[in-house]
């Protein structure tokens, strides 16, 4: 492989945002057919590097060389036509357009001249792509009606359908569950065989080692290492990423469940889910497993007051409750972390501090007037405890890396002191170290007697962290499994039921 000419070369690339250096003199080469994993902590600069390669950001210093050609001022369209495509970390789809229209957006001329011809071809080609990948979606569905995971699949299909020589994938699997990840793996191996180079990021160790040929580690904007997979171990990579040795990925936790806190009977919303039943004990972590689109998110929303259940009942501390909105749930001590961070998680233009105190602002006021010093103190506490990587509590959250944004959302929910936490994909896009911190936090909370519902598509996470696992399939509860008595295969079989 080394003998071939590289597809992409980075030469001493440096980037700074308003004076703060983000990337330091990066050198990197990619060869045809190579699958290259780019790993690093949240905020290490992975997305920034990818955007630089694509050409959305131009480097302050250094050069990007694609197929031996140094990149000058080219439009994004020209760059993409020269053979690079990218899956962005934040979903980049147009909600009011259909799957087919999104996939061919910006490339309509490939579909023919006449409007009807284009319409027909888009439909046909998309249907073919979906069929090839075993994705049961209708090309005419509007993207706004898709779940986050399904949207991510559409993004992947779009990048693939561009027939690029180099595909940049910024956390392409962050919302996917086991089944789709298997599919994804198949897809990239097919691409590899066609000679396509792939640079991808992920925070899941199985993927990093499972998919890639080479692994490069970024830390604080420096390229620490770049080595063939065979020449390194998980331990080493993690150490290079976080700067210290990490021996375990999940904290030790003693199960000690107490009284029943939340009781759910026959819960349902026609069309979304039905017949959900469980008791949640104090100090318990209850996992929700299932495939993409199974309806777990909707159940979580119904418990947190975002959706109003139409069937069944919720008993909270032995009282029947019906939350009409999230505010009521929060006041009753129910905390909710959404899977849709960007839409439901934070206020982008607000500072870290303002986001952290948003749900508990009434604790920081007197007669409606804010006590800002107390607020600041609290926010600083969260930043240091959760190791949120930010220039300060006044930094706007939209400028934080994805993982750090997630920590801010987590901090906001913890600040209103919930007794039950509903966590929907809480570690989506979070690095190993931060994951460990969040798991530790969960363990600590459960030790304090708080109950947690963990909705997760990450099977190892689900297996390790939950005491019991409720498996949901097509809106129905198919099994309730004890952690000690089950295995991934069993969970999957119930999930497919």
């Amino acid at each position: 492989m080394e003998g071939e000419k590289p597809v992409l070369e980075l030469n001493q690339v440096s980037i700074a945002y308003s004076g703060t250096p983000i990337l330091h003199s990066i050198d990197l080469s990619l060869y045809p057919g190579e699958i290259h994993a780019l790993v690093g902590e949240n905020g290490a600069g992975k997305s920034t590097l990818m955007k630089t390669i694509l050409g959305i950001i131009s480097p302050d210093k250094g050069e990007v060389i694609f197929f031996g050609q140094k990149r000058h001022h080219q439009s994004l369209k020209q760059i993409m036509e020269s053979g690079i495509s990218m899956i962005h970390q934040e979903l980049m789809l147009i909600p009011e357009l259909s799957i087919a229209e999104n996939i061919f957006l910006g490339r309509e001329n490939e579909l023919g001249f006449w409007p009807w011809e284009r319409k027909k071809n888009a439909q046909l080609k998309t249907a073919e792509l979906l069929r090839d990948c075993d994705i049961p979606l209708d090309p005419a569905t509007l993207v706004k009606n898709l779940s986050i995971a399904e949207q991510q699949l559409v993004e992947i299909l779009r990048a693939i359908s561009q027939r690029a020589h180099l595909i940049l994938m910024d956390e392409p699997t962050s919302s996917l569950s086991e089944k789709e990840i298997t599919l994804f793996r198949r897809l990239i191996h097919k691409l590899k065989n066609e000679g396509v180079s792939i640079l991808f990021t992920s925070h899941k160790m199985e993927e990093i080692f499972g998919f890639s040929d080479r692994i490069s580690v970024l830390r604080d904007g420096y390229l620490i290492s770049s080595s063939n997979k065979e020449n390194c171990t998980e331990q080493e990579i993690v150490q290079q990423m976080v700067g210290r040795e990490m021996n375990q990925f999940f904290p030790h936790r003693e199960v000690q469940s107490g009284d029943i806190s939340l009781q759910v009977k026959g819960l349902g919303i026609p069309g979304l889910f039905q017949g959900i039943e469980f008791d949640l004990h104090q100090g318990e972590i209850l996992g929700f497993g299932g495939l993409v689109g199974a309806g777990r998110t909707d159940i979580g929303k119904a418990l947190a007051g975002l959706l109003i259940p139409q069937e069944g009942e919720i008993k909270w501390k032995n009282q029947l409750v019906k939350f009409k909105n999230p505010q009521e749930a929060i006041l009753q001590g129910i905390g909710y972390v959404s899977e849709d961070r960007k839409e439901m998680g934070f206020i982008p233009e607000f500072s870290v501090q303002h986001n952290l105190t948003l749900s508990s602002l009434l604790d920081f006021q007197r007669w409606g007037i804010l006590d800002k010093s107390k607020e600041k103190e609290t926010a600083e506490g969260h930043v240091s405890r959760m190791k949120i990587k930010t220039q300060g509590v006044d930094q706007q959250v939209m400028y934080l890396s994805g993982g750090n944004q997630q920590k801010v959302v987590f901090g906001r929910v913890l600040q209103h002191l919930p007794e039950v936490l509903i966590l929907d994909e809480p570690t989506r896009g979070i690095d190993v170290q931060a994951k460990f911190e969040i798991y530790t936090l969960m363990a600590e909370l459960s030790k304090q007697g708080k109950s947690i519902i963990l909705i997760s598509s990450d099977l190892p996470e689900l297996m390790h962290m939950s005491d019991r696992i409720l498996v949901i399939s097509k809106g129905k509860q198919t099994a309730t499994l004890k952690k000690e008595e089950t295995n991934p295969a069993e969970i999957m079989s119930y999930a497919m039921k």
């Binding site: 994004l76 980049m92 789809l93 147009i94 909600p95 009011e96």
Partner: protein, 315 residues
Amino acid sequence: MNLKKILIGSQSGGIFLALILMCVLISSLTPRFLTDTNLLVILNQVSVNAILAFGVTFVIISGGIDLSLGSMLAVAGVVAALFAKSDGGNVYMALLMALGVGALMGAMNGFTVILSKVPPFIVTLGTMTIARGAALIISSGRPVSDLSESFNYLGNGDLMGVPIPIIILVGTYLVCHFVLTQTVFGRYVTAIGGNETAAWVAGIPVAKVKWWVYTLSGIFAALGGILLSARINTGQPNAGLGFELDAIAAVIIGGTSTRGGKGSMTGTLLGVLFIGVINNGLDLLNVSAYWQQVVMGGIIILAVVLDSVYQKMKR
């Protein structure tokens, strides 16, 4: 397009129903409403607003707004009149110059919006004031009259019994509908309104498309100005005061989202007709001038509220 599709399948079902209801209501109150001549009168009357509304539909779908419509209309109307004087004027020249001036003003709007990232609300508000001043300056503050017969024909003549403004109305509707739904340009406009960053990342020439959108809006305003001047046989420097609000109201009533990314020309047409029918009906029913305003505002709010309820029920 069949009825069921309009009612259920499209975003315009609610306003379509509201329009029908309104027509039934008015004709039950006065027999003068549902006559051939009156319906022609309504179509004739809405033509200018419709043309402006079609143009600004593109702008609104792209996530922008254009408050300078009425003033651009005035400038173009005056320019057209100046070139279409009965002594030595030339209609083709008049059309060309007016449309050119409209395109130029629209292009300036687009240019400023794109380059400076200043919100279009304030850019076009500025243009609204500037263009109004310009219309007054080039006409020395006086109506420009004595226009050639062939120019006036545009506003008052007919082709095989169908008044020219109505022909232009239908023509622009068809063209705009086609452009929005069937062309790459239309797709791009929708995409930009839906998620500008995503559109940009997909390689869409966002700046160029936006520029065109504002330019088109200027051209349509100019077309409206030509028609208006021809209809009243005069180029009026203070024509079109407040027309932008009527046009935007029609677009929103027609179901186009104020945030962009979603909308249809059929909806806009229905919105325009809705406003036109109410205006006409209130006059026919001899509702007193002050109450007309109250009723007009009330009906519009009611219609959009019912529409939003209807859209929710459809789900």
